[in-house]
Each structure stands twice: as structure tokens, then as C-alpha cells.
């Protein structure tokens, strides 16, 4: 299948700031604007209040401790304790609000994406691997939301904090403040240099780890061959190389990390020493009080964190925007099947089907069906036969308008399927697929598929299609949980369940893709009997593999390489000694006896 029109993963990673993208993101925050506003106000308030503590410490030392005023000291200390309490509370509330908005935006986005996916046609799903679409709805949304939760908010908070710290320092003592700032260029330089180096190193690690994982994956899957050919020694040596590459890539990051943290500490010590020297001399000169010096030690300490964090946030922001772009690309995919303007809906469907000169191609030039015309009267049973790739399943898919034809028309009750109301149409058509898909849930859920049916109806349907017996034998009966993809049920049992699923809906048109895999003769009999009951009184189209189905059909349509080659009854077609004759010999003769 071609990947044209699919959403590509890797592109557009380099963009840093896209105005439209950001505007579109802002729309998602809008419903929560009040919370965002409160969070921002809190953020500013906290950043300001936090910077009072060192100042109050200075006041405590200069005005009370040095002057021997213990009562006053108690007051100031109480104020400091209270302040740290208020600041912490504000931080908690602000973080909770931010987290709420972030989670909420993710929630809304996921809902929107899921809803949008439901509206897309099978053509879209044929082209986009499930794994990638799951990623869009889960991890991409999570990465995107970091723009809010740890991106914008924290960047803003860090900037505001820096501004207040600088202001406080300048206000207390300009000269000492300027001395403190001298280490900032050094700090910024070291931080950004090591970020850059680390990013390269991490990229190296990712590449090597990916190569190693691929190597392991390949060799674990090919273990049989390795052992058959006595290749263990050589493979072991080669893994040692790959493993070693990974180790050295890691050791590089270890070295960088090891140097980064001590370096930051040394720069911190440098700033302390500078303040001690300059401040110390000022104290000795009685130009400043000792309290000012103590306050500056604390400010210098606080200065470092925001600068270091700012550099980290940049990457988060970038990754978030890349994810946003991918998510929006998906949301912008238009459904390729148009709903009719004045949909035809009829509650009494007769079940007449007509194909008129139908052409179908998945991709331009790859014709799957070529000029197909046939007519099915209400209540008729039609068997479709043909070898693999003949186009049988495509015919079935076109009846329920899973795809639109490339040329020609499909009519139900004389009305083009494109003019039908989708719900009404699908209400009268039921599909039973060869590979029965089981949803996570109980047996009952898998029959009703969440629609309203009474227990009696469910049991009645199961009985009719011979499913009741094995269901009753399950420990939980109809409430037995099917595991992922219904793995606990045998193929035959799943087939019977899917019959019940169809029967309970009482459709006018039944489309059945017979299972090819062999089941034991008893189940075979049960399935055959169930199928007969299922087809009674409806138009049914069966992609037939069983001889009995073919023999019982009113008419047989023989498809070969996208063409309708022969049509008629079993004896009729056998006499013609054409494709049907060969197919019959090949596929059914050994079961004919």
C-alpha cells in the first residue's frame, strides 16, 4: 500500500516558533482562562514575596540581633516563618492550577483526536499504521502539554524570579549587586556550552542504543539460524562491538555530567568569595552592615537555579511544538467520504443490491475491480468465489460504502449508497468477517457491542447460532471476560459469536466472509447450521469457501483478477468448464466426497 497522503513523522522538527501554531494552541487554554490568570498572578506574587526572606534576615540581624532586641527578633522570625508558609501555599496552589489546566487541555485534545479518528474512512486507516495514530493520541499529546505545564509557565516564572532577585539586590546595595552579577556570564556560558555538548552526547547515546536494540531484536528473532549454523561465537563478538559502542557513548555523557555539576558548584563558590571579599571590605569600612552581607549570600544562592533551568526549558518547548504540529496535521485531515446533503433514509429496506459498471482502485493505476455489474434480488443468496486477490472482499466493502468507487455506482434498493443516510444504511447491513475481532469486555458485550438488547434477546440469538452451549460452559457464562483480541476463544467459537452479533441486529442484508481455517467436524457442523439459520429471509452475500455454501447459493459469482468472469448456478458453471471448474477442482474437490 502506498504511503501517499500519510502523515509523516520526522518532518518539521526544526521549527522553533510558529505563530499560527501558538495561536491555535492558545485556543485550547481559553476555556480555562480564569485559572490561568490566577496562576499567573500567583506566580508573580510568589516570585516577589520569596525575595523578602533574605531582606528580612538582614533586618533581623542589623536591627534586632546586633542591637540586642530579642522581642523584635521574635516578631521578625515569626514573619519569616509565616512568609515561607505563604509562599509555599501559593506555590502549591499555582502548581495545582497549572497541572489542572495542562491535564484538562490534554483531555480535550485527546477527545477531539479520538472523535476525529472515528470520522475518517477506511482508506485513511489503510494508509496510516495503527501504532503511529496511537502515538498521536497519547505521547504526542503528552509532549505537547508540556509546553504549558513545564514550558511557558516555568519559563515565565523563572524570568520573573530573576527580575525580582536582581531588583532586590540592586535596592539593597548597588555595588555589591554588581559584584555578584560578574559571575553570571560565566554561569550562562558554562550552562549553555554543556547543554549543547550534552545534547550531542545524548544524541550519540540514542543512536548507539537504537543500533544495539536493533541488533538484539534481529538476533533474538534469528536465533534458530545462528544456532543451526554454529555462528554463536562470531555473533557474540559482534555484539561485544555494538555493546561497547553503547558503553562508550554512555561514558561520554558520564564524563560531561561529572564535570558539569562540580563546575557549577565552583562558580557558586566563586560568587560567594567575591561577595565575601567586596562585602567584607565594605563591612570593615562600615559602608554596609553585616546583615547586608548575609542577605547577599542568600540572594547569590537563589540566583543560580532559574538561569540553569531556563536552558532546559528551551528543549521542552521545541519538542512540544513539534508534537503540536503533528497533532494538528492529523486533526486537519479531512474525511474523504462526503456525507450526502439530503440523505436517503428508509425504515423498510428491501435488500436489493446492484453494481453498475463499478471500477475501483486503491491507488491510481492499481485497479482492484474492473467494470463489475450484477444485480441481487431481495432475499437472494449469492456466493462469491475466486482465488486470493480476485477482489471478493472489495466487492463486499463497497456494498457498505467503506470505500467510494472510482467509477460506476453501487445501489441499495435502487438508491446510490452515496445518497444513503449512513446510519440507516448500516442499520440494514451486517458484516461477519473472517477474522473475528473481539473487543475487550464480556461475551455479552461482544454480542451487543454496547447496543441495547435484553438478556433474552442475547440468549435467543446465541441459541439460534449454536453459540449458547459453549457460552454456558464458561465459568462466568455470558459475563466471561474475553482477553485481548479474544484469544481465549477458538476460531470456531469466535465465528459463532460473530454470528450472534449479526443475528441480534436482524439486518436485511448479510455479508459474510467465510472463515478459511479448518475447524473440527463438530464445530464445522454447528457453523454450517448457524449460517443457514442466519441467512434465512435476508439478502446474503457470502465470500464462500465451503462447498455446501456454494451449492446452496441461488447464484455464484466467479471473480478472477478483479473481473467478474462467470455467473450462474453450480451445475451450470461446472458444465462450462471454465475458471469455476478449475477453482472447484482445486479448492473443493477433496471435500466433495
Amino acid at each position: 500500500m502506498s504511503r501517499r497522503g500519510s502523515i509523516h513523522e520526522e518532518e518539521n522538527l526544526g521549527k522553533i516558533y510558529d505563530h499560527r501554531l501558538v495561536t491555535r494552541l492558545m485556543a485550547y487554554i481559553k476555556p480555562y482562562w480564569f485559572r490561568v490568570l490566577v496562576a499567573v498572578i500567583l506566580l508573580i506574587g510568589i516570585a516577589a514575596l520569596e525575595q523578602l526572606t533574605p531582606y528580612l534576615t538582614k533586618v533581623a540581624i542589623d536591627n534586632h540581633i546586633v542591637k540586642g532586641d530579642f522581642k523584635g527578633l521574635i516578631g521578625i522570625v515569626g514573619l519569616i516563618a509565616l512568609l515561607s508558609l505563604v509562599v509555599a501555599m501559593g506555590k502549591i496552589v499555582q502548581a495545582i492550577l497549572t497541572s489542572y489546566v495542562g491535564e484538562r487541555v490534554m483531555f480535550d485534545l485527546r477527545r477531539e483526536i479520538f472523535h476525529h479518528l472515528q470520522s475518517l474512512s477506511l482508506r485513511f486507516f489503510d494508509r496510516n499504521p495503527v501504532g503511529r495514530l496511537v502515538t498521536r493520541n497519547t505521547s504526542d499529546v503528552a509532549t505537547l502539554s508540556e509546553i504549558f505545564s513545564s514550558g511557558v509557565v516555568v519559563i515565565f516564572g523563572d524570568l520573573i524570579t530573576l527580575v525580582f532577585i536582581v531588583a532586590a539586590m540592586l535596592m539593597i546595595n548597588v555595588q555589591l549587586a554588581l559584584v555578584s552579577f560578574t559571575v553570571v556570564p560565566l554561569l550562562v556560558l558554562v550552562t549553555f556550552l554543556s547543554r549543547m555538548k550534552l545534547r550531542d552526547a545524548f544524541r550519540g547515546v540514542r543512536v548507539k542504543v537504537a543500533a544495539m536494540t536493533a541488533f538484539m531484536q534481529e538476533h533474538y528473532s534469528g536465533m534458530r539460524i545462528i544456532q543451526l549454523f554454529n555462528h554463536q561465537k562470531k555473533v557474540d563478538d559482534r555484539f561485544a562491538e555494538v555493546n561497547n559502542d553503547t558503553k562508550f557513548a554512555h561514558l561520554r555523557t558520564v564524563a560531561l555530567f561529572s564535570i558539569f555539576f562540580p563546575l557549577i558548584e565552583v562558580i557558586g563558590a566563586l560568587s560567594t568569595v567575591l561577595i565575601l571579599l567586596r562585602g567584607g571590605f565594605l563591612v570593615l569600612d562600615d559602608a554596609i552592615t553585616i546583615g547586608v552581607l548575609v542577605a547577599f549570600f542568600q540572594y547569590a544562592e537563589r540566583f543560580f537555579r532559574p538561569i540553569r533551568e531556563l536552558s532546559e526549558k528551551y528543549n521542552i518547548f521545541q519538542a512540544g511544538l513539534a508534537s503540536a504540529e503533528r497533532v494538528f496535521n492529523l486533526l486537519d485531515t479531512e474525511p474523504d467520504m462526503m456525507e450526502p446533503v439530503n440523505p436517503h433514509a428508509s425504515s423498510t429496506v428491501k435488500g436489493e443490491i446492484e453494481f453498475k459498471n463499478v471500477l475501483f482502485e486503491y491507488n491510481k493505476g492499481e485497479e482492484i475491480l474492473h467494470d463489475i455489474s450484477f444485480h441481487v434480488k431481495p432475499g437472494e443468496t449469492i456466493a462469491i468465489v475466486g482465488s486470493t486477490g480476485a477482489g471478493k472482499t472489495t466487492v463486499a466493502n463497497l456494498i457498505g460504502r467503506f470505500y467510494d468507487t472510482t467509477g460506476g455506482n453501487v445501489f441499495i434498493d435502487g438508491v446510490d449508497v452515496r445518497k444513503w443516510d449512513r446510519d440507516a444504511l448500516m442499520h440494514s447491513i451486517c458484516y461477519v468477517h473472517q477474522d473475528v475481532f473481539m473487543f475487550n469486555g464480556t461475551v455479552r458485550d461482544n454480542i451487543t457491542l454496547g447496543d441495547e438488547y435484553s438478556d433474552d434477546q442475547v440468549i435467543e440469538a446465541a441459541k439460534t447460532v449454536n453459540a449458547d452451549r459453549f457460552i454456558q460452559q464458561l465459568p462466568q457464562g455470558y459475563h466471561e471476560q474475553g482477553t485481548e483480541r479474544g484469544a481465549t476463544f477458538s476460531t470456531g467459537q469466535r465465528q459463532l459469536l460473530s454470528f450472534a452479533r449479526a443475528l441480534i441486529r436482524n439486518p436485511r442484508i448479510l455479508i459474510l466472509d467465510e472463515a478459511t481455517s479448518s475447524v473440527d467436524s463438530e464445530t464445522e457442523f454447528l457453523i454450517q447450521q448457524a449460517m443457514e439459520r442466519l441467512q434465512k429471509g435476508r439478502t446474503s452475500i457470502v465470500i464462500a469457501h465451503r462447498l455446501s455454501t456454494i451449492m446452496n447459493a441461488d447464484r455464484i459469482l466467479v471473480f478472477h483478477k478483479g473481473r467478474l468472469c462467470e455467473a450462474g448456478s453450480h451445475t451450470n458453471l461446472l458444465e462450462r468448464r471454465g475458471i469455476y471448474h478449475r477453482l472447484f477442482q482445486l479448492q473443493y474437490s477433496h471435500t466433495a466426497a
Partner: protein, 582 residues
């Protein structure tokens, strides 16, 4: 902690490095705690009258200790974390080596994804214990110990205050950390649930649309989405509470030091501003190691779980192994015989092969035919000892194959499997896979027999062309021919073809068969095939049905009989004709 005992031998080669690393931890911490002490003297000096040179000296000392401490911190990380990377390498190499010995039946019942998880994230979790967890534990211990000694020297009373605060922070971190861990596990589960719904919805889209389940699916998704939101948000709340609450304790502690210190200065005159500065610094220095405790405990827990999983894996003993006293054969002649062999796959209920007996004399050819699942490939797997049969005996040159060394046995076969399974290396490496001594002449011959030679000009780098993973850049027929070349280059006494030409076009097939005929002249051959062209001339053909030999004989005899063989033959002919028909 006992689970980590098995890790001790891994430390042995790096004993010196580990000891050095731990020594670096001690040195770092000594210099680290001295800094605030000098600072205290300097600030106190400002009150009692310090000289300018004294101030310079103290500043120099502070800078000096910071630099020394920084250097040793660098060495400490580089050494201890570095050792953990070395051990990770050893551990992974051992695991891989162990995988190379495990049986085919082990791989039949394991998922590749799980094996990868063991080799990557489980080993990473264990590494976190080996390196970082060990380092942070020792670091926390020494920084606590040294700081407390110096703090006590300044003021026992205030030390008592810090001694109360430190456990409170540790307890808080531990308590909240545990809750965060629990909540994040729940959130992770909700996330998996949510992904599962999306995954299921998308893979079942055909059914969803056929049964108009879109709305119901959206409802289900809404429920999971709500649940995830709930968990994720309450995790967010916990995280929101975490740091600020540590900061409250810290803030109150600073206030306490200020108050108590102020009291001592004012009332007792036994404390100074410098002492106050030093205490605040010590408190700050201890906050991070305290916070790291909660993290380290988590590392140990996760590491222990991973270590247990790895242990279970290492404890698996391969069932197929060399005999204690292997037969040392002279030259293999290639006589193969099965005597009453019955085999049931592990976990299967019915036998895949029942009472299979045949004898293939040296240099002759055995053909095996039968429907899908009739047991053809199983016979070949048993011969190569990928599995051992439950009953009966398989012999090579008259000796039971379990009497040979496994490698000696397998070296006697040129095996061309159904799925060629190539590796993402060069064409040349894929062909010379598993052989040590070969000449260019050997490669030429193998290329000629497999008719790969005609394709070589199409490859950009000829034989050195890198083929993609599992050979995805090659066509099905090319892959099969590489597999044939890979087998025949070994020139062993027995050649085994498991439907080896199914994807090769008829023309090429004919030429390969002609080449193989010469190659098989003095070799024993066992051939499974759907195409009758390759087995028509076999000395004996056996027909399998549900694990039992139902017919045997030469082609002409079997055709005369008009049984299963004839039917299979006719159907294959018809299928080929239909393929041509338009």
C-alpha cells in the same frame, strides 16, 4: 538486598576503581564541609576585627577547598558511574551469551519484546543500583556525618535543631515519594488502559464502522480519558505539594536557627553572625542528600525487581546440550535415519510426528511432501536437534544424534530454512555466515549454485552491499537464493531444503535444481517441497498427513497409486495453471 549478592562478582574486575571512587566520595565531602567553616571564621572576623590579608586568605581558602572538592566530585562521579557502565556492559554481554545457548523451544514461548526489555531496561535498572544508588547512599552518609561533626563544634544546641529537622525532611520526602510512586504507577496503568482503547479501536476500525460503534467507542474512550485525567491530575497535585512542603520545613528551620542563634547572641553572647551563616549553609548542603534518599530507595526497589527477573532468566538451563562423553567421529558420511520417532511440541496437545521411521543412505535423496502443518518442517528441526523427540531415535551415521556435540552435529548440515532469515550485514557476510575458512573460490561456487551470480551486478556494491534488516531490500526469491548460497558454501555431507525455492521463478528454479543435482551427487539430501519438480527424482519420497507417514515410495510408484500424493500433485499443477490464466 540479598538479590544483589549475585552482582558482587561483577564488581571484582573493577575493585580498585570502586575503592578509589568511594575514597573520592569521602575526600569530596571533607573539603565540602570545610568551606562553610572557613566562611564562618571570616564573617566572625568581620565583627572581631579581621585584617585585610586575613580576609584575602580566607577567601582564597574557600575558593581552594571548593576547587579541590569539585575536582574530587568530578572524579567520584566519573569513577563510580563509569564503573556502573562497565558492569552494565559485562552484564549485557553475559545475558546475550546466555541467550545464544537457549533452546528453540524457549524462543517459541517467549516474546521478542520481553527479551529486549530484559536486555535493556531491566539491565538499566540494575545499573542504577550498581552505580548511582551506591554513590548517593555513601555520599549522603558522609556529608551527614561530617557536617554534624563541624556543626556540633560550633553549637551543640543548634545542631540539635538541625538534627530534628533533617529526619523530618527525610521522612517527608520518603512519605510523599512513596505516594508519588504509587500514584504514578496508577497513572501509568490508566495510560495503558487509554492506549489500549485507542489501539483496539483503530485495529478494529472495520468492525467499528460495520456495526456503527463510533458513538459507543467514544463513550468508552471518554470514560478512560476521564479516569486517566483523574489519576494524572492527582499525581500533579502530589507533585505540586512535594517541593513546597520541603521548602516549608526548610524555611521554618532557617527561622528557627535565626531565633535560637539570635537568642544565644543576645542573651548568652556565645554565638556569632558567622556561626549563623555557617549553619544556614550546612542546612542547605544537607537538603539535597536528604531529598535523594527517597529517590535512592526507589532505585533499590526497582533494581531488585529487575535483578529478580534477570536471575530467573540466567537460571534457565538449556535442555539441548552436549553429551558428557561426546562421540568423536572420523569423517561424517551422512547416513540419516529416523526410528519410531514421536514428537510433541511443548505445550501442544497432539503429537506433531507419530512413529516416523525412514532411512536415508549416504548420498541418496529423501523427498518429503504433505499439506501445511503435516509435520514436514518438524522432521528437519528434529534432525538438526532444535528439539529432542520424546520417543524414538534419530541417527547420523548409525549413532544417535544426542551422542555428538551439538555443534559437531549441526556442522554436518547445509540447512535452507523455509524463512530465509537473513541479517542486516553485507551480502558476503550473510553467505559466509558461520564458516571460518573459505576462499573467494568457495563464494563463487556458492553464488553459481544458487544462481545468485546473475543478480550480483544489480547490487550497488556487489557482494559488499549491505542488505536491510531481515533482508528487506531483497526480493523473496533473492533471499531464498542467499539462504541456499549460505548453506552450500559449508559443503557438508547432508543438505536440507525446507521448501527452499517457493519464491524463485520457474526458470531460475530449474537452473538451481540442475546445479544442486551436481552438488548433491555425493551428498545426502532431504528435501521438503510443494513443487514436485524438486523431488521427482528422489530415491524415496514420504507423504505426511497429520504427523504420520501415509505413503512412501518413488515418484512413479506413488503416482500410480492414486492416493494423497497424486492428489497433492494434481492440485499443485492446477494451481500453477490458474496462476498463468487471466
Amino acid at each position: 538486598m540479598t538479590v544483589f549478592k549475585r552482582l558482587l562478582p561483577y564488581y571484582a574486575p573493577y575493585r580498585a576503581l570502586v575503592i578509589a571512587g568511594l575514597l573520592f566520595v569521602v575526600i569530596t565531602n571533607i573539603f565540602k564541609v570545610v568551606g562553610p567553616w572557613i566562611m564562618r571564621n571570616a564573617v566572625n572576623g568581620l565583627e572581631t576585627g579581621i585584617t585585610a590579608s586575613g580576609l584575602w586568605r580566607d577567601a582564597g581558602l574557600i575558593m581552594g577547598t571548593a576547587v579541590v572538592s569539585g575536582i574530587f566530585r568530578y572524579l567520584m562521579r566519573k569513577t563510580v558511574i563509569g564503573v556502573s557502565r562497565h558492569i552494565e556492559y559485562d552484564l549485557r554481554q553475559n545475558l546475550f551469551r546466555h541467550f545464544l545457548t537457549l533452546d528453540t523451544s524457549y524462543y517459541d514461548r517467549s516474546r521478542i519484546g520481553d527479551l529486549l526489555t530484559r536486555s535493556t531496561s531491566d539491565i538499566e535498572q540494575v545499573r542504577m543500583v550498581i552505580g548511582p544508588a551506591l554513590m548517593y547512599t555513601v555520599n549522603t552518609f558522609f556529608s551527614l556525618a561530617f557536617s554534624f561533626v563541624l556543626m556540633t563544634m560550633i553549637s551543640p544546641l543548634l545542631t540539635l535543631l538541625v538534627a530534628v529537622v533533617v529526619p523530618v525532611i527525610a521522612g517527608l520526602v520518603f512519605w510523599v515519594g512513596k505516594r508519588i510512586h504509587k500514584k504514578s504507577t496508577e497513572t501509568q496503568e490508566a495510560y495503558s488502559d487509554l492506549s489500549a482503547v485507542v489501539q483496539e479501536n483503530l485495529s478494529g476500525m472495520r468492525v467499528v464502522k460495520a456495526f456503527r460503534q463510533e458513538a459507543a467507542q467514544e463513550e468508552l474512550f471518554e470514560e478512560k480519558n476521564q479516569k486517566y485525567f483523574k489519576h494524572s491530575f492527582s499525581l500533579g497535585v502530589l507533585q505540586a505539594v512535594f517541593f513546597p512542603s520541603v521548602m516549608i520545613v526548610f524555611g521554618v528551620a532557617v527561622a528557627g536557627i535565626l531565633l535560637l542563634g539570635g537568642y544565644l547572641i543576645i542573651e548568652r553572647d556565645s554565638f556569632m553572625i558567622g556561626d549563623f551563616v555557617a549553619f544556614i549553609t550546612y542546612l542547605m548542603m544537607l537538603t539535597w542528600p536528604m531529598i535523594s534518599i527517597g529517590w535512592v530507595v526507589g532505585l533499590f526497589q526497582r533494581g531488585a525487581a529487575s535483578q529478580a527477573r534477570l536471575d530467573a532468566l540466567f537460571d534457565i538451563v538449556p535442555e539441548i546440550h552436549d553429551p558428557e562423553k561426546p562421540v568423536v567421529p572420523g569423517e561424517f558420511r551422512g547416513t540419516v535415519s529416523f526410528k519410531d520417532v514421536t514428537f510433541t511440541y511443548p505445550q501442544a496437545e497432539t503429537a506433531a510426528l507419530k512413529d516416523i521411521s525412514f532411512h536415508v543412505p549416504e548420498g541418496s535423496t529423501l523427498g518429503i511432501v504433505g499439506r501445511v502443518g503435516s509435520g514436514k518442517s518438524t522432521i528437519l528441526s528434529l534432525l538438526a536437534r532444535l528439539y529432542d523427540p520424546q520417543q524414538g531415535s534419530i541417527q547420523l551415521d548409525g549413532i544417535d544424534i544426542s551422542g555428538y556435540k551439538v555443534n559437531d552435529l549441526r556442522d554436518q548440515f547445509a540447512y535452507v530454512p523455509q524463512d530465509p532469515l537473513l541479517f542486516s550485514t553485507s551480502l558476503r557476510e550473510n553467505i559466509t555466515f558461520g564458516i571460518k575458512d573459505f576462499t573467494e573460490q568457495d563464494i563463487e561456487e556458492a553464488l553459481e549454485i544458487s544462481r545468485l551470480i546473475q543478480d550480483i551486478p544489480d547490487f550497488p556494491d556487489g557482494l559488499n552491499t549491505e542488505i536491510g534488516e531481515r533482508g528487506i531490500t531483497l526480493s523473496g526469491g533473492q533471499k531464498q537464493r542467499v539462504a541456499i548460497a549460505r548453506a552450500v558454501i559449508r559443503k557438508p555431507p547432508v543438505i536440507i531444503l525446507d521448501d527452499a525455492l517457493s519464491a524463485v521463478d520457474a526458470n531460475t528454479e530449474e537452473r538451481i535444481l540442475a546445479n544442486l543435482k551436481t552438488f548433491m551427487n555425493n551428498r545426502t539430501a532431504i528435501i521438503v517441497s510443494h513443487r514436485f519438480s524438486s523431488i521427482r527424482d528422489a530415491n524415496e519420497i514420504i507423504v505426511l498427513e497429520e504427523g504420520v507417514i501415509v505413503e512412501r515410495g518413488k515418484h512413479a510408484d506413488l503416482m500410480d497409486r492414486g492416493g494423497t500424493y497424486t492428489e497433492l500433485f494434481e492440485r499443485q499443477k492446477m494451481r500453477e495453471e490458474l496462476e498463468k490464466h487471466v
